[in-house]
Symmetry: C2
Subunit: 410 residues, 2 copies
């Protein structure tokens, strides 16, 4: 008896009841997620951005100048940090900023500390019932229509919700309460521009991040509104509310890598993730493995290329280096204090670990799809040496990006 | 002496002074624009949407139900007008709605009656001067990075600015004042989804419009912010402030067609246009002709397919059928009263004239690029007969779109 033939419980309006979730341990195993008895949920107050506002361990005044560079940049002579670079980066953020700032007076910071506020409320009526498998396919198509590059669906998992939200007004915490019954998670992936990512570290390259934050904010507003217009609840969240990476892995969008990112088959590490929690009956995807774990075990390119040496060179561990790491999850965990300190020095985020990753390739080209396949075989050691020998992952000069941009605009 | 060798006047900070505009009559001729002595600027109060709020000629209560369908739709049984269709269409608008609604209390309606409000003010300093030709190429590349599908640049032209703005609070007019010195116009084109447009008329198809309104709003915020971050003024406008079509034609993005649209080489009529007025020194594009005028002269497909017969079958004329037409411009002019009345009946915009246009083809396919080329030759009569014989322009069933969407989501 295949899955679609199983009898379903139907709710009063004819929609199938949301099915009980599968065994967590089984689903964890398939995703390569290992949680120990030391597990506790992560408090958003311990996120580095938030710590810079209350924790004396972080140099608050320097952090302030990092944040200020996004509104009043101080360009310098170096290539990639001139006025045009900051001009482009700061422009890329403005849609995300629009949503982040609109509720500031009411104590909200949408997309960072709080979910995106719905535009219209949940419709009072629902259309005729649709099977979860069918609805999942429709939602994926519609998410792509509204700009998502990748879409996967898995079950909601309380473990990845923040233990509490950071309160930016009093520097303390607020409860992270979600409406009940949102048992599914739609995970959305947004590709970051390769031509920009290849110029990390620079204010120019950082445009790749800002552009997708803005892209996501608008796209999530639309996708979640579609669900609400069908008469179901949908909570659209970006960096707020819950961790994104475990969901991306569970929903089959990527495998966890040494650089702390979900490495996708389509775009490697060059993806930003968002989530929508919903009670719309949906079928789930399974985690997908294509050899990333095994490759990362032998590859230390990200760790070796990290100027502040924030990325571990050793095996996965359940112990993080400081309070900005979740505890009780066996994984590669970066030292976020060192990482953020470097961002502050640059007045820009740093994505060297994304740029140098051997999975940062243009997989629309058949040669790189073959390359990726070989990286997932026992030839991985050879592939790693080859990757270095061929000079992949080298920084592209920001000036070259501008010169190419001019040529492309002709 | 070519253009880039000409001596330039430089402003105090080293940036080239904005050059005097070329002869209007010469530039009009190249664009196929003919303005007569009866010309007067169009008052935004006479736009059909605005007339529905003050003019007794328009049935206000029916118009209200049209607007209300965008917030509280009343789905019906017909294919393309069910809950899922309205759900998708109304979701597609929410980013444009976010910007349109945020200043309502202060009497603004951004993107419709007022330009988009800047996020950050104009930077106090400017980077090193860049030649207008170089800057135009950079701006085009950056506009595309931020989502525009087409970009052209021409001079600002006061004739296309509304004589005044509609005041939605007192139903009267407000002055349409622009900051001085914004002598250039960057014209942005956003492709509408062909799979949706082909399902016009339907609430589903109307998603193609809402999606691009939302897309434009975010994209314009980013592009105009980039210019402000370089220390120049940039006024981003959508349907507000000025007519878009003459700018699209002047900037070389398309040719004017019988269906009142700028027909582009890349996407035919399936494009929405926005503009950014700026004092950033820029080089201009020239209008481009590829045979549209001559084709539209013999083709009446849009006029014949229009249920309320709102599109003229005769030659261009300087006289419009009612106050919703600009006066003193020799062109094909639709009867907007009949057109809007039909929209109201549908509870949805209608794009039949876009769907049936023989230029509504997928020009990414070489066969259709050849087809388009032949449409621009003396074989146009034959091509028109061929187009009908092959059944192009037929309405795609909304149900088929949904079925395909499911298949695509697999």
């Amino acid at each position: 008896m295949n899955d679609s033939q199983k009898p379903r419980n139907l709710t009063v309006d004819g929609w199938p009841a949301n099915r009980p979730t599968s065994s967590v341990s089984e689903s964890d195993r398939a995703a390569g997620i290992e949680v120990t008895g030391n597990f506790s949920r992560f408090s958003q107050r311990n996120d580095m951005f938030n710590r810079s506002r209350w924790d004396d361990v972080v140099d608050g005044s320097k952090a302030k100048s990092f944040f200020r560079s996004h509104t009043r940049p101080k360009p310098r002579r170096g290539d990639g940090f001139q006025q045009r670079d900051f001009a482009l980066r700061n422009a890329s953020w403005v849609v995300a900023d629009t949503y982040a700032n609109r509720g500031m007076k009411e104590g909200r910071r949408e997309g960072f500390l709080d979910p995106l506020e719905p535009f219209f409320p949940v419709a009072e009526m629902r259309p005729e019932a649709v099977a979860p498998e069918v609805m999942s396919r429709q939602i994926k198509r519609i998410a792509k229509l509204f700009g998502a590059d990748l879409v996967g669906i898995c079950e909601y998992d309380e473990r990845w919700s923040y233990a509490d939200r950071f309160d930016f007004q009093n520097k303390g915490t607020r409860p992270n309460e979600l409406p009940p019954g949102l048992v599914h998670c739609i995970v959305l992936g947004y590709q970051m521009d390769k031509t920009l990512v290849d110029a990390y570290p620079s204010a120019l390259a950082s445009t790749a991040a800002g552009k997708e934050y803005s892209h996501e904010a608008g796209s999530l507003m639309q996708i979640s509104q579609y669900i609400r217009n069908l008469g179901f609840e949908a909570l659209a969240n970006m960096n707020d509310t819950a961790l994104a990476i475990p969901y991306a892995v569970k929903a089959g969008l990527g495998e966890y890598g040494r650089n702390q990112m979900a490495i996708t088959e389509e775009f490697g590490p060059r993806v930003r993730f968002s989530k929508i929690f919903t009670d719309l009956p949906l079928a789930h995807d399974a985690p997908k493995r294509f050899g990333v774990t095994e490759f990362c075990e032998i590859c230390r390119r990200c760790a070796e290329s990290c100027p502040p040496q924030a990325i571990p060179t050793g095996p996965p561990s359940e112990h993080g280096p400081n309070r900005s790491a979740i505890s009780g999850v066996v994984k590669w965990t970066a030292d976020c204090e060192k990482c953020f300190d470097y961002w502050v020095k640059l007045s820009s985020d740093c994505g060297i670990c994304m740029r140098v990753c051997p999975y940062n390739k243009d997989f629309s080209r058949p040669i790189f799809r073959l390359y990726r396949r070989l990286m997932g075989t026992r030839l991985r050691g050879l592939m790693l040496r080859l990757d270095k020998a061929l000079g992949f992952g080298a920084r592209r000069k920001p000036k070259d990006w501008w010169d190419d941009a001019e040529a492309a605009g002709e």
